[in-house]
Amino acid sequence: MQEIIGTSNRILEIDLSKKSFSEYMVKSEELQLYLGGKGLGLKLLYDRMKPGIDPLGDQNMIAIMTGVFIGTGAPCSGRFAAVTKSPLTGIMTSCSCGGPFGMALKTSGWDGIILKGKSAKPVYLYVDSKGVEFRDAKKLWGLDTQKAQEKISSEGTGILAIGPAGENLVRFANVASGHRFLGRAGMGAVMGSKNLKAVVARGNEYKIVPVDKKKFDKTKAKATKFINRNDVSSGSYRNYGTNANVNLNNAGGILPVRNFTGGTHGDAHRISGETMAEKFKTTYSTCKPCTILCGHKGNIGGKIRQIPEYETIGLMGSNLEIFDPVKISDWNEICSLMGMDTITAGGTLAWAMEASEKGLFKSNLRFGSSEEVSETLMDIACVKGIGKDLAMGSRFCSKKFGGEDFAIQVKGLEMAAYDPRGSFGQGLSYAVANRGACHLASSAFALEVYFNLINPYGYNSKASLIKYQEDIMSAINSLQTCVFTAFPYELETPLMKIMPKFVLRICMNLMAGIALRLVDISLWPEFWSSITGRKLGMTAFLRAGERVQVLERLMNTREGISRKDDTLPPRLLTEFRKCDDRELAIPLETMLDRYYFIRGFDKNGVPKKSILKKLKIA
């Protein structure tokens, strides 16, 4: 088997209209500046796409990038990224997925694919080291994600497929690879609009070997040690998956209940990871390769299924006041078969329920009742009945039927399952996150509520915290490894180990900007440089993350995003929950001003010339 030393740097540009493809060699400085993965994908689209195009038109493109880590056997490196313009939000979206497709694409000798144009009739692509074959997808069209994958599983080792939802242009349709998904903001709808049902990659043609093997092995050993030592990664995640958060959020008062009108619920433990682990006898079912092992599957109602992730539980469980794990996993199954994002689906359902209770929207959906939920989900996937409207997401619905005050979305993307009224930093994070109310842009709640390193109800040093986290998350997504590695890689470093907690707390509350710079994040850059053979320091690594973040913001501002969009739903800003005894309102404006300032944006939230120059963007 041939070897690829480091990265192949070959990007496959596929034009579906002309049924042709070409090869693009990534320039070395592009790789150096944008690291690969999400960052490189954004850069490539930034060069190719002009602003103001229709997300579902043929001018929109999808970039699927494998990144540097995958295939080398680095811990938790089985992930790849995809970037496109979202039909749900009308701005850029970037997703990360742990399915087998990434590995297959990488080992077919490609670092990424860019999909352009629009096929006349349904097709699916076969990718190998030589290039692409356009195959007729008549036999696949209409099949759900899993069946479609089974049908063509013999043709390659990694598959990317959309379900009926994607074909019907449901605005929050997602793309499946194995049982993992390119989740949010309608990647699947874009593929569907291109009449592209699936992409198969042959894989197993190349072997990826790092440039500096010795250094790589050293780093890998260290990383593995950290991961196995850390409470978060080797404790809760490994035993209970991400659902371990249910109890934690319930105790901390940031669990969404009844469309974000409550922060805690007595029955929450019934849908928690612990309960499920006991009830369903869970075993691992994760991305490959993975060291953390947060994904689980279990025996639910006699069938072996994926255990729903926390966001699914939060949005389709407690947020709809439903505390039956079996029901939730049924809906999770429907969503994953039809190919829909569970977070947006849950948020939209919650809106529909409240709107129906208030009489704004005609349906039989009610909080706490599981009737018609499955049917509604199917309607959404098939875009019929009330599904016609709900398939457009809660922003569209609230504009059409009223009830914008309880449509819990930012920039059109429904909010993840952490209530910012218990964690103000998360409020800022949601408001400024590039793709909408997203919890993966920066997770302030972890430091505020779980680790209690920053006062959740203050606004001191929140802006710098969010900036740092956004930068590092973008950087990690550009290396393409798992964001959960952040906990072990940062918290298990000697400095953090020996530092007493109260000292950390004081530092974080008073001067987070400086304190965070002292955190040792050398593992990621070391991996990257050992694989590619280029130099990369911690500062350069963070700077790269910032570059990606600002580039995405720049692309969004070209679509009309500005301060007016960096806000939170009225409910979160004006209403209080029973558990907020102090009735503090989120000081969003204050934090925004500060954030824009340290980001180098102007008052209106648009990146200044100076910062673009400094970061070598355009």
């Binding site: 059409k400 039927f401 005050d405 309880f406 007016k564 009225p570």
Partner: protein, 390 residues
């Protein structure tokens, strides 16, 4: 002066504007046999101290304010209305005062419907003919006014409730409540109302009374908006400006929906950019386009409120209409810090234009030939004048 063979004009709103205007509230309430008002307002008015001033004006009036509900947020929703209705009943109030901009006024109107009909479901009254006669409703305008307060329409949760009964009985405009406001908001409100008024007096079915109201509001808005924005609300110009807004509200409830306004509202709905600014950009192009199509598309009298009597008289009969259009362009030039030259600069993605056009056509395009909306919108999008594109 043209008079259509049939027309109606209705206005029940009394304007009470000037020094110590607020002090009259208690007297007027008494004369309407009401003793316990409920004040509906938002957080902004509390912050800028308007609520305190209103409270002071009730001192020594022997009148108890039932409650001051100050949690109305920028989006008027049925839930809020229902909540206030409950409060209203608990306190046994018998009249409503709205203090602030569009949102409190809309909520107050909704509240008025609910409490007057002893109902709990606002949806039943989308057809207002079912509603019983309403309670006294006073509206106090501040620098956050949008001009919709005096109109006969209330938009709550994306539903529009339309009836002349919804117009406030009395509107108070007090210099003390006309402090420095949010500039963008002022520009937005000003341009929107200006567009509404100008279009209102350019329709065939427009009637002389409404015209005279429209002229009043146009002159008040046109002559003051620039100054108000520059000084962002010096106490001299602001009351006049707010008067202009208030009158335009009355005008728009007596006229058909204008196209520029409709385009603005549709844009706001689809993209979230403020309606007024878009309407402002569209307005002159629309008028110019009308002029090109029909010589009498824009009436020459329009120049009178805009430019004043001297210019009006010294201008040739045939140039008056076109001059007034130029003057509107000029105004936009004056406001260029807040109003971009074209819609593209805002920026709004190009693929939205057609959606906006189709939406706006349905809203307020019935007075125009088909396709006008799209043409005008494209001009506005690329910032071209109608005279440039042939």
């Amino acid at each position: 002066m043209q008079i259509p063979e049939y027309f109606e004009f209705f206005n029940k709103t009394k304007l009470c504007s000037g020094k110590m205007a607020l002090e009259n509230i208690s007297f007027d309430l008494k004369s309407m046999d009401s003793v316990k008002p409920l004040v509906v307002t938002d957080n902004r008015s509390v912050k800028s101290g308007y609520v305190k001033i209103l409270k002071k004006s009730f001192y020594d009036s022997g009148m108890v304010i039932g409650a001051i509900y100050d949690r109305v947020n920028d989006y008027p929703s049925t839930a809020t209305v229902r909540e206030i209705a409950e409060l209203y009943r608990i306190r046994g109030c018998d009249s409503i005062i709205s203090l602030g901009g569009n949102s409190p006024a809309a909520v107050a109107k909704g509240l008025n419907i609910l409490v007057s009909n002893r109902s709990d479901n606002l949806m039943d009254f989308t057809d207002m003919s079912r509603s019983a006669s309403l309670r006294p409703f006073l509206s106090v305008l501040t620098s956050a006014a949008a001009g919709t307060e005096t109109s006969s329409e209330a938009v709550i949760d994306a539903r529009s409730y339309r009836s002349f009964d919804l117009m406030p009985d009395i509107v108070y405009i007090d210099a003390r409540l006309a402090k420095k406001g949010n500039t963008n908001q002022i520009v937005n409100a000003g341009l929107m109302s200006l567009a509404q008024s100008i279009e209102a007096c350019n329709f065939k079915e427009s009637n002389p009374v409404n015209d005279s109201f429209a002229y009043a509001s146009i002159s008040a808005l046109y002559s003051n908006i620039a100054a108000v924005v520059k000084k962002s609300g010096a106490s001299k110009d602001m009351p006049a400006f707010i008067n202009g807004l208030a009158i335009s509200g009355i005008v728009r409830s007596n006229a058909a929906a204008g196209l520029a306004g409709a385009i603005g509202l549709e844009t706001e709905k689809l993209t979230g950019f403020s309606a007024g600014i878009v309407a402002g950009i569209v307005l002159p192009r629309l008028l110019e386009y009308k002029l090109q199509k029909v010589k009498t598309g824009v009436r020459p009298e329009l120049l009178l409120p805009i430019a004043g009597i001297d210019t009006y008289c010294s201008t040739d009969e045939n140039r008056r209409a076109s001059l007034s259009v130029e003057l509107i362009y000029e105004l936009l030039g004056k406001l260029k810090d807040n109003v971009p030259d074209n819609i593209k600069m805002m920026p709004i993605p190009e693929y939205m234009i057609e959606r906006i056009a189709s939406g706006a056509e349905a809203r307020g395009g019935k007075n125009y030939p088909k396709g006008t909306t799209l043409k005008v919108l494209e001009m506005a999008y690329h910032g071209k004048k109608s005279s440039e594109v042939k």
